[in-house]
């Protein structure tokens, strides 16, 4: 792997802050009652999104979970249209039909998020199968949480993708929690990567909060996938710095645990590394401020955008309106 240049690291630093700021705005506006539903933030997990998506082209496809804002932005979806979707605007990626948990942006290769835990896994395998059948060299990536490994379809999809040698990258964001319950209470299997072993799926458990580690591991995994080596399961140990959903008071976390959060922050950790390489704190602050401004402007434009016309509520149920004869 060619080590990224310092400029490339700075761009990735920008991408991390951009996601962090984006979700800070989601949190703020959800709190203000401007965002319907229950958005889930990936705050603290951004390095996984940025480190993996750095290796994807637009033609590669991505499926994400209920915690997908970061993945979608890192894959290249337009920031304003993504935010507009979360606000339920007509200019949103899905014209306000999807929202935070159902982001689709086919132009950017974002083929969907799922509100049903585990619902994205087999779809991602299907996309990988399609690429294989069409003789393409593209891959399919699916992001999911550690709690998702309790779902039967996770195991079915591991088996199927190994059997068919699908170009499918499983990226597990192991943040130690499923909602309010710790991993220990969910499974006897400590590491999600263990599940790959019986299916002979290549796998690795890595520090998901260290961007250079994620970048290097994703590079290796994706290179193998593009060579046709079959699926790969990358387990990224990470930490959700926010609540499960916006508004979660997190009574299940101890004070000590909450106090240690900053050390885990992937942005702080990359900052330390970049400073060690000679980047000044001032330059990093400037990069962060640029990201913040981009987000604020995008968010304001999204907020100003029109809401969907209620008269269009029945659009897109079927391709042909003639099939839509139900009252």
């Amino acid at each position: 792997m060619a080590e990224p240049t310092l400029d490339e690291w700075k761009r990735m630093y920008y991408a991390l802050v951009r996601i962090r700021q984006f979700e800070a705005q989601v949190q703020r506006l959800a709190g203000a009652g401007e965002i319907p539903g229950f958005p889930h933030l990936s705050t603290g997990q951004e390095a996984v999104a940025v480190g993996v998506c750095a290796h994807l082209s637009r033609d590669d496809v991505l499926f994400t979970s209920h915690r997908g804002h970061g993945h979608v932005l890192a894959k290249g979806s337009d920031l304003e249209r993504t935010f507009a979707e979360i606000l339920g605007r007509d200019s949103g990626l899905c014209r306000g039909r999807g929202g935070s948990m159902h982001l689709v942006d086919s132009g950017a290769g974002v083929l969907g998020a799922t509100g049903v835990v585990g619902g994205n896994l087999a779809l991602a395998a299907g996309a990988a199968w399609a690429a294989q059948a069409q003789g393409k060299n593209t891959i399919s990536v699916v992001f999911f949480g550690d709690g998702t490994t309790g779902a039967g379809v996770f195991h079915e999809t591991l088996n199927l993708s190994a059997l068919w040698r699908l170009p499918l990258l499983f990226v597990c964001e192991n943040n130690g929690y499923a909602e309010f319950t710790s991993r220990e209470e969910h499974s006897n299997v400590q590491h999600v990567s263990s599940f790959a072993v019986p299916y002979a799926i290549a796998t690795k458990t890595i520090d998901g909060n260290d961007l250079p580690t994620v970048y290097a591991a994703a590079h290796e995994a994706i290179a193998a996938l593009r060579r046709g080596a079959g699926p790969y399961l990358l387990e990224c140990m990470t930490y959700r710095m926010a609540g499960h959903y916006v508004g979660d008071a997190q009574p299940y976390r101890s004070k000590e645990e909450l106090a240690a959060i900053k050390e885990k922050c992937p942005i702080e950790r990359l900052k330390i590394r970049l400073v060690a390489e000679g980047v000044t704190q001032q330059e990093l602050d400037e990069i962060g401020e640029r990201a913040r401004q981009e987000v604020l402007q995008g968010v304001e434009r999204a907020r100003a955008a029109a809401r969907p016309d209620p008269a269009t509520v029945l659009d897109h149920v079927y391709r042909s309106p003639s099939l839509h004869s139900i009252p």
């Binding site: 159902h102 689709v104 199968w129 999809t157 099939l323």
Partner: protein
């Protein structure tokens, strides 16, 4: 040429595989011909990449087919028994059906899920069900249930070309039925019912194997001077209420017959719509025929005792005719 239901499905699949390279068949044992032999020989002809065996993973293979459909394939998935669709329900209901809508029309799921339903030959409670009503409750799905071989041929081809997800329900009792295929006939439009027999006294609405029972009932009724019109719905979602209305405007009496239990069944929906849309046309209450509310039993005598057939339809029609017909202006 004459074909059985199974042979004609195979011919339709063969032709669609030949016509469109995006069409792929998948399911448990399909490369080996499938549990009922529908796909026999197709893997030899098109290769085991286009006619592909899967593990026994109904949730994952339905998701796989859906994901592939999002990316340009036109998969035809075989779910061996509709009873097993319960394992694929999350995908069908939460993903497959909703993708077009949730994405604001960006993507589509051109998928056909072929499955096999109904009671016959002691298949018993877990291999005999008629679960179609569950699916007509889901916006975004299309549900097709052919009543005869030639119908199945055209409807399957139309389903594969539709561009929206179709649950295609084949009745196991029809599999050995033989029929001549009229070559070159235009493909039926999905969403349109057909009049399987014309009549003037009573409309019998049915679908799938029950259409055959309805035709037998109409023949029997004809012998006692009652002229029954039989509507084969073909598509259960959407329902073709136009064809239903045309018929009821003529006969003013209607019996809806299906093998599924009555409670919450397709017939309940049709009856409700007739009640609200065609109330003034009715000379008698809407009659319904369906399975009594019990699982399908194993022993032949019990299975027979439970299943509604032509006799139950004749009985229901006679009850309707016995009801005092109001004078119409």
């Amino acid at each position: 040429m004459q074909y059985t239901f199974i042979e004609i499905l195979r011919r339709a699949l063969d032709e669609e595989l030949a016509r469109d390279g995006a069409v792929h068949l998948l399911g448990e044992d399909v490369a080996a011909g499938g549990a009922f032999g529908v796909t026999r020989g197709l893997a030899q002809k098109y290769g085991d990449k286009r006619v592909r065996n899967t593990p026994i993973s109904e949730a994952a293979i339905t998701g796989l087919a859906t994901g592939a459909a999002l990316c340009g394939l036109k998969p035809v998935l075989e779910l061996m028994f509709i009873d097993f669709a319960t394992l694929a329900m999350d995908c069908l209901v939460n993903q497959t059906a909703k993708y077009r809508y949730m994405s604001g029309g960006q993507v589509a799921v051109p998928l056909v899920v072929r499955t096999q339903a109904g009671a016959a030959g002691g298949a018993a409670a877990q291999h005999s069900q008629s679960l179609e009503a569950w699916f007509i409750h889901v916006p975004g799905l299309v549900v097709v249930a052919p009543a005869a071989p030639a119908e199945a041929y055209g409807l399957l081809k139309s389903a594969i070309r539709l561009g929206d997800p179709v649950l295609f329900i084949e009745h196991k009792r029809l599999y050995t039925m033989k029929e001549t295929l009229a070559e070159g006939a235009p493909l039926p439009e999905i969403g349109k019912a057909r009049v399987a027999r014309t009549g003037t006294d009573v409309t019998i609405i049915a679908y799938s194997a029950m259409v055959q029972s309805a035709l037998e009932a109409a023949a029997e009724l004809a012998r006692v001077g009652v002229s029954g019109e039989v509507i084969d719905l073909r598509t259960l979602l959407p329902l073709d209420m136009t064809t239903v209305a045309t018929s009821i405007s003529k006969t003013h009496r209607v019996v809806i017959a299906h093998e599924a239990v009555l409670n919450g069944g397709v017939g309940a929906e049709i009856a409700a719509r007739i009640g609200s849309e065609l109330f003034d046309e009715l000379d008698a209450p809407v009659g319904r025929v369906g399975c009594p509310f019990a699982p399908i039993p194993f022993a032949p005598g019990l299975e027979q005792a439970l299943l509604p057939g032509s006799g139950a339809i004749v009985h229901a029609v006679r009850e309707l005719l016995g009801a005092p017909a109001q004078a119409r202006e």
